[in-house]
């Protein structure tokens, strides 16, 4: 490890510590509204980063993310709701016995959501990943919808369309941002590892990748399953943020929203996904003013509902037409760039990232 490498590791640790300190103060000083928006942003970061892994880095056009979120949200909700709440909420058909009395703490439940969603990803990936491009897109979108429809119809497990409420509420920035940071770190290290390059190789040229000895299917399945895992986690967090879930939350339109985020940020750039996730979440709130009645020069303009979405659609079109690579293209935030700026010498070794 040369000195530059050491500086970079030091900076990374420093940044993590700094974010902890920031979180600590933010937790105490931000209004609950701002906290909520930030937490929502963290969830979108997890969604964006994990979908980017599948779509941006592995080149699989998968649109099933909302379905995996749905799985995650329900798993965590059912595991963490108190037995009394369950009795109260499942007033049409009681919940099936083994689930009725389960009462897990939040953290293991969230992890379990990831695991179950990953399991679904694995099962679905088996048939679906034999397809490509648009066919994969429509098939995964279909699987996402199928999951949702099953959830709607299996009333004695999910309470059907009535949804669940009284899911333990968590407001702590630590939880959401903790998961977001872990997701970013894990995915970043993964894509910079040998596996990450294998994913990119599959994206660039499947035939050549296979000829270089890469088991295409296994790697696709791996990327897809990891993506599903994080989508499950995000779904679980969404449940704890809103404290109620129902199947209509996870329509395929939700997947489009994530898709927008990663395209705005730049396909193949984690940094871009993070920036866009935060940007879009905050923007949706900031833009609300256009729907409120406005007082311009003594003239009251009545608020027009829907304006926000019109502006948002226009913005999206503008970005895609004029900044087609998204905000970051495939570039990433990296210390080298900063170190070069401030004149720290580069080591001699050629730049393959050997660790992460």
């Amino acid at each position: 490890m040369d000195s530059r490498q050491r500086i970079k590791s030091f900076l990374t640790v420093g940044l993590l510590v700094l974010s902890c300190i920031l979180l600590y103060f933010a937790q105490d000083s931000l209004s609950s509204f701002n906290t909520r928006i930030l937490n929502l942003a963290a969830i979108f970061i997890i969604l964006g980063v994990s979908m980017n892994l599948v779509l941006g880095f592995t080149g699989m056009f998968s649109l099933g993310h909302a379905g995996f979120m749905c799985v995650g949200a329900y798993v965590s909700a059912i595991l963490t709701m108190s037995p009394e709440s369950k009795e109260m909420i499942y007033f049409m058909e009681p919940i099936i016995p083994p689930l009725a009395n389960i009462h897990w703490p939040v953290l293991p439940a969230i992890l379990m959501s990831g695991v179950v969603a990953a399991f679904f990803g694995f099962i679905i990936g088996f048939p679906a990943l034999r397809l490509r491009d648009d066919y994969l897109a429509i098939a995964t979108l279909g699987f996402g919808e199928i999951i949702r429809i099953i959830v709607t119809n299996t009333i004695s497990i999910t309470n059907g369309s009535l949804g669940l409420k009284n899911i333990p509420s968590i407001k702590s920035l630590w939880l959401y941002w903790g998961f977001a940071i872990v997701t970013i770190l894990v995915v970043k290290r993964l894509i910079n590892s040998s596996w990450g390059y294998a994913f990119k190789a599959i994206r660039d040229n499947e035939i050549a990748a296979e000829a270089m000895g890469i088991d295409i299917f296994k790697h696709k399945l791996m990327s897809f399953t990891i993506g599903a895992f994080f989508a499950g986690i995000a779904g679980a967090l969404m449940g704890h943020l809103i404290t109620s879930v129902d199947p209509t939350m996870f329509r395929f339109l939700f997947t489009f929203q994530i898709l927008l985020i990663i395209v705005l940020g730049g396909l193949g750039s984690l940094t871009g996904s993070v920036i866009a996730a935060v940007g879009v979440t905050v923007m949706m709130e900031v833009l609300r003013f256009v729907e409120q009645p406005m007082n311009l020069l003594g003239l009251t303009i009545p608020g027009i509902p829907g304006m926000r979405m019109v502006i948002f659609s226009l913005l999206l079109l503008f970005v895609i037409l004029y900044y087609r690579q998204g905000l970051m293209g495939t570039r990433e935030f990296n210390w080298d760039w900063i170190l070069d700026k401030i004149g720290v010498k580069r080591g001699q070794s050629k730049g393959v990232k050997l660790d992460g």
Binding site: S32, I89, G160, G163, I170, T248, M249, E291
Partner: protein, 370 residues
């Protein structure tokens, strides 16, 4: 949370504030937009008629929740923590209400729902109230009506599995119907569809073959209108029953020339239950001359006037006082009837049964709460 410690209450508001803020979160875009739009029309109308309370001007802050849960949660959070509203109204769609409920509860701000009928909305939430009756009541009312007035021995059920409203009503209808007929097999068919479906021919064809005495098919007016029309096209003549969502122009347009359509609702313009009903009707026609009076507008209207009434009774904008005042509502005269809130915060009030006659909704009877 693990951040540690108790909830932070927002700083007390400036007592000298010269407006009273009522926050409204409704779906104005997305799949539930139509319902939200009608509700807001009613709320705005009420605001024009009653612009002041406690001598202060009422400011309506209307935010769109896009028919999405996370947006609904954001919207309520925004209303309580940024706009610091005194009371909240909303939302069409029970799931959206449920997303907002806990946030308002944590902030100690009361919410009055206009039309969320899922019982879970107010369960376990002391700060959530509503002016509509809930699914169990409506379902039961219609079962009673079917058995006692229409003499039905068998029934078929059609439900929109994606709508908690539809599923809920059907659930209670089924229970009561079986009980009243004393026949566990009285429901001869139960078929499903999904929100957004437009083709019901196969469901109806299968029901037709079972030849039920009545069909209970509560659901969104959009799908229901097409469904009922189709049923008649297919030659199904059994009476078709539904719930309050059917009281919409769009539904009527579809079923104008149709016999034996019954549904339960909140009020009737011909037989106004209260003076407020008459007033609402007149004003509504004035304000929106090209639109038909509808239940959602009326419920929105009632929510607003109930909010003002509660603030008046509380005598201040103290959050706790407002909550208690709402909870204590007894025989409040709304456009949709006399409203009394029960221990859950749900309205108990007279249900009206209407029928489609000569291209209009006509009064058929009423059912008092038990």
């Amino acid at each position: 949370g693990c951040g540690g410690g108790e909830e932070k209450k927002e700083a007390p508001k400036d007592a000298a504030s010269d407006v009273i803020k009522i926050g409204v979160f409704e779906p104005l875009t997305g799949t539930n937009a139509a319902g939200g739009e009608m509700t807001v029309e009613g709320i705005k109308l009420a605001n024009q008629l009653f612009p002041e309370v406690l001598g202060k001007k009422v400011e309506l802050i209307i935010v769109d929740n896009k028919s999405e849960k996370q947006e609904a949660a954001n919207a309520v959070e925004r209303l309580v923590s940024k706009d610091k509203v005194d009371i909240i109204i909303g939302s069409y769609g029970s799931s959206l209400s449920m997303a907002g409920g806990p946030i308002a509860k944590d902030a100690g701000v009361s919410v009055i729902g206009c039309s969320p009928t899922n019982p879970a909305v107010t369960l376990g939430n002391d700060y959530y109230f509503r002016v509509c009756f809930i699914d169990p009541f409506q379902g039961t009312v219609m079962a009673n009506y079917a058995v006692e007035k229409l003499g039905a021995k068998t029934a078929a059920i059609i439900q929109d599995v994606q709508q908690d409203y539809s599923v809920g009503l059907n659930n209670y209808f089924e229970k009561s119907f079986k009980q009243l007929t004393g026949n566990d097999n009285a429901i001869v068919a139960k078929v499903n569809y999904n929100t957004g479906d437009k083709d019901f021919s196969s469901q109806l064809t299968s029901i037709k073959s079972k030849n039920p005495d009545v069909i209970f098919a509560p659901g969104n007016f959009l799908e229901s209108g097409i469904l009922v029309e189709k049923a008649r096209e297919l030659g199904i003549t059994a009476p078709i029953l539904g719930g309050d969502t059917w009281e919409a122009e769009e539904f009527l347009n579809r079923v104008k020339n149709t016999k034996d359509i019954y549904f339960s609702t909140h009020f009737d313009s011909e037989n106004p239950v209260t003076e407020m009903s008459t007033k609402f009707m007149e004003e509504y026609q004035k304000a929106y001359p090209d639109k038909q009076v509808n239940a959602f507008g009326a419920l929105g209207f009632d929510t607003y006037i109930l909010a003002l009434d509660a603030i008046t009774r509380a005598g201040s904008t103290d959050q706790q006082a407002i909550r208690d005042a709402i909870a204590a509502t007894q025989n409040f005269q709304g456009a949709t009837g006399m409203i009394t809130l029960d221990a859950n915060g749900d309205a108990t009030k007279t249900a009206i049964i209407k029928k489609v006659v000569d291209g209009k909704f006509a009064y058929e009877g009423k059912v008092e709460p038990k």
